[in-house]
């Protein structure tokens, strides 16, 4: 894998455009008040939590640095105008978390059993599974890939731009349930 094949793959992804030109859908320089305010509130919460002092001097320092950070990088946290249903999405994601933690716990116990088993070499059967995911958005695919990696026994090796996933499984049992239920739950969270 050297520079030539790398640039080849980049050209394949966006074939019609020169990759070194800035793309048209760059964020506009217009001031967006709602992302700015949200970023400011989040930064202020973190400042209060990390400093832990409430006298006037520290609060004014915090307000100044939060203003600078949110003026510079509010477009990083919220890239476009706020999509509708963002808070509902976060709420549903919070409902998804307990199931994910239960799954992580079960699979952790399985890997722990494998690790301490004396005949471990007979039990494991590492292989790479490839499948296509039907998730569309970037955020949902990232969540899916990270959930797969967090569930022990499976690691996302490759998550493509067209929805192809390659997953390394440690044995047959942990690879069986892919993509399955987790993909359905994430699709429900992100309304796809």
């Amino acid at each position: 894998m050297d520079a030539a094949s790398n640039s080849n793959s980049v050209k394949n992804i966006r074939s019609d455009k020169n990759p070194y030109q800035p793309s048209e859908n760059r964020p506009t320089k217009k001031f967006a008040p709602v992302p700015f305010l949200l970023t400011f509130i989040i930064m202020a919460c973190f400042w209060l939590l990390f400093s832990g002092r409430f006298d006037l001097f520290h609060l004014s320092l915090g307000a100044a640095s939060c203003l600078i950070v949110s003026a510079l990088s509010s477009r990083l946290l919220f890239p476009e105008a706020l999509p509708p249903g963002l808070f509902k999405c976060w709420f549903k994601f919070a409902l998804y978390l307990p199931w994910l933690f239960y799954q992580i716990f079960l699979a952790n116990l399985h890997v722990l059993y494998l690790t301490f088993h004396p005949r471990m070499m007979d039990l494991i059967n590492p292989k790479i599974i490839k499948f296509d995911s039907r998730l569309k958005g970037d955020v949902s695919r990232t969540t899916f890939a990270n959930s797969i990696t967090l569930t022990p026994g499976t690691i996302t090796v490759y998550a493509g731009i067209m929805g192809t996933f390659a997953v390394h499984c440690i044995d047959d049992k942990s690879g069986q349930s892919l993509p399955g239920e987790m993909e359905k739950k994430i699709a429900k969270v992100f309304d796809e």
């Binding site: 894998m1 939590l49 990390f50 832990g52 992580i104 716990f105 952790n108 890997v111 722990l112 690790t115 301490f116 471990m120 070499m121 494991i124 059967n125 590492p126 292989k127 790479i128 890939a145 990270n146 990696t149 967090l150 022990p152 026994g153 690691i155 996302t156 090796v157 490759y158 390394h168 440690i170």
Partner: protein, 107 residues
């Protein structure tokens, strides 16, 4: 309360032991990542929740802040450890390392 904290701490230590032994025992580096990345984060979750429980014991505002910071470390590690594992796997794939397979599968 001391007993509960000790039990949670012991759970975390068991997971850490599993992770460390798994790093030694598994055959190749793709399969070593399974215990290294995830049994360690599970052990971190358990031991950090024990510490957070211990820190809030005489309740005060600063103690609450400290335990929330400890929980924040867990959240941070749970977000970043899949990314770090994926970066290592990606480096292995690009360098051309072949995953270890069983003899029976190769025939």
């Amino acid at each position: 309360m001391t007993i509960i904290i000790t039990i949670i701490l012991l759970c975390g230590l068991v997971f850490f032991t599993g992770g460390s032994i798994g790093i030694i025992r598994f055959p190749d580096f793709y399969s070593r990542l399974h215990p290294a990345g995830k049994l360690d984060s599970a052990g971190l979750l358990f031991s950090m929740s024990a510490f957070a429980l211990y820190t809030v014991q005489p309740f005060s505002l600063s103690a609450l802040f400290t335990s929330v910071k400890i929980i924040l470390i867990v959240v941070f590690v749970f977000i970043t450890s899949p990314t770090a594992i994926h970066a290592i796997v990606d480096a292995g794939v690009r360098a051309g390392l072949k995953p270890w397979e069983k003899e029976s599968n190769l025939k």
